[in-house]
Symmetry: C2
Subunit: 330 residues, 2 copies
Amino acid sequence: MAARFDVVGIGSAIVDILSRTDDAFLLANGMVKGTMALTNAEQAKAIYARMSQAIEVSGGSAANTMAGIASLGGKPAFIGKVGADKLGEIFAHEITTIGVEFNGGEKRPTKLPTATCLILVTPDGQRTMNTFLGACTELGPADIDAKLIADAEVTYIEGYQWDTPLAKEAIRKACQAAKGAGRKVALSLSDPFVVDRHREDLFTLIREEVDILFGNEEEVFSLYQSKDLASAVASMREAKILACMTRSAKGVIVFDGQSTIAVEAAPVPKVVDTTGAGDLFAAGFLYGFTHGRDLTACARIGSLAAGEVIGHMGARPEVSLRDLLAKQGL
Amino acid sequence: MAARFDVVGIGSAIVDILSRTDDAFLLANGMVKGTMALTNAEQAKAIYARMSQAIEVSGGSAANTMAGIASLGGKPAFIGKVGADKLGEIFAHEITTIGVEFNGGEKRPTKLPTATCLILVTPDGQRTMNTFLGACTELGPADIDAKLIADAEVTYIEGYQWDTPLAKEAIRKACQAAKGAGRKVALSLSDPFVVDRHREDLFTLIREEVDILFGNEEEVFSLYQSKDLASAVASMREAKILACMTRSAKGVIVFDGQSTIAVEAAPVPKVVDTTGAGDLFAAGFLYGFTHGRDLTACARIGSLAAGEVIGHMGARPEVSLRDLLAKQGL
């Protein structure tokens, strides 16, 4: 049956607070560059107190991916929890107006505050994240509309969700609904430390449910505890699923169980902020995948979308990716 | 007596909500490109409902100027009103952490919501603004600390303030305090329509109180009802005060009552968003002025600061202007 949506994302509904800083700040505050750390409300407050001029922009890994698919002209939906507050209003407004169906039209706010992610951007463009999950911790099976899941060609899940116990149940329910309807399940590994915290759970999920896997080099290395690229590639190939390993400026390697395709990164005049690079690669790839494109084209569209988002602050596209695609003849 | 502050700004404490759009959107919504329109809460809500993906960043014309002075390494202070809400918290946090003394350390929140400015950025980089003043309408004489004004070399006023009756009284009090302490008063014309609405009031202020005047071509044309550059320049020269007419990519003309200096615009690789260009020019100029630099250097520092802010979304500097200045040997 034709699907009403290309992709439905399940993830944390987060407003990003991005600020430029230097490596000394990360060091002084015990942060590991390029990774995501979870904070409680007090820790978030303490970090924010030390941050300077910032911009606020809707974020959340899977939500960014859905925003990218909308910008490409696809039909995405998103399931996530916001609080009944100003940031929740902003998040819900934006994701809806850019063309993502949000929680089947229901806002479902919780009593906890909307999640925020304090993002420190260093001069090399790398982002280091401190997430206060707030309302996101209440995402559970009740939020999963099995009919919506069945109505999407692909159900896309953030690895980040493994950090909230209730969300794991939600994901199990979503996977069952997707598989029951003959749909596909995609997983993003999200972060090397998330992978390390939940390696066995993720292995089980990949073996039993996942059709499409996304991860960057560090995440794939973490998953397979690889020490070098060759062994990581070998392990990823053995999974016998469609898998993409993104490698920043070195491009992406795509495995489809049989062949291996390497696609170069799209040229980027200046890397300003890498926040959302992986999310937007997944957006482009999944847009291509759900529109019948071959794997090379999927990877190219992914690289183009990722290239746009790292050219400015924030993880949501600033221009129409559909127009960008047309300009590149893709 | 040595001043504790270089400049104290009096203005609207606003959080900007910036979104990219096209000219058709401005046309369909009756907006005049490059200008500022005031909205009530309902109008703001209706415009926001039609806006798409946005970023939120602290703004406010005089506040942006003070942020620029802080980024240059100067000592600014700012007087403005925020609401007791999340956006007010963000505004107060940011202006304080970047090094601007805010309301003498008191937050003075009001019961009205923090002001927001819905900013539409067109592909040519121009910004069109819709301001909901909220808490800013409560700025009045009680907020003016005469001791703080006397403690700043320059008191810097937004022309925008003429749109709120109570603020006019506040400004009158501030001018008296500044003049009584032998300090200087600077005025930014802010917007051609603001100038048109309050031409006589502004003329009186300029004649009686203002030592340094800032305006772009359209604002100066509006002030003197000039039809061409030559007559605008002649009128501005006749004011016999220090005056800067900014002309976007064509640079700036500075008058000091005797001579006229033309300085070219700083080279900008790509104009992304002109929001804050005038504010940051004033920041650079006033930083130079309060640090004993000659007028050519003042204008160059202003152009450099303006050039940085139009290279990205938002009206606050994203990098240290002090470092930028050092790199340029200024």
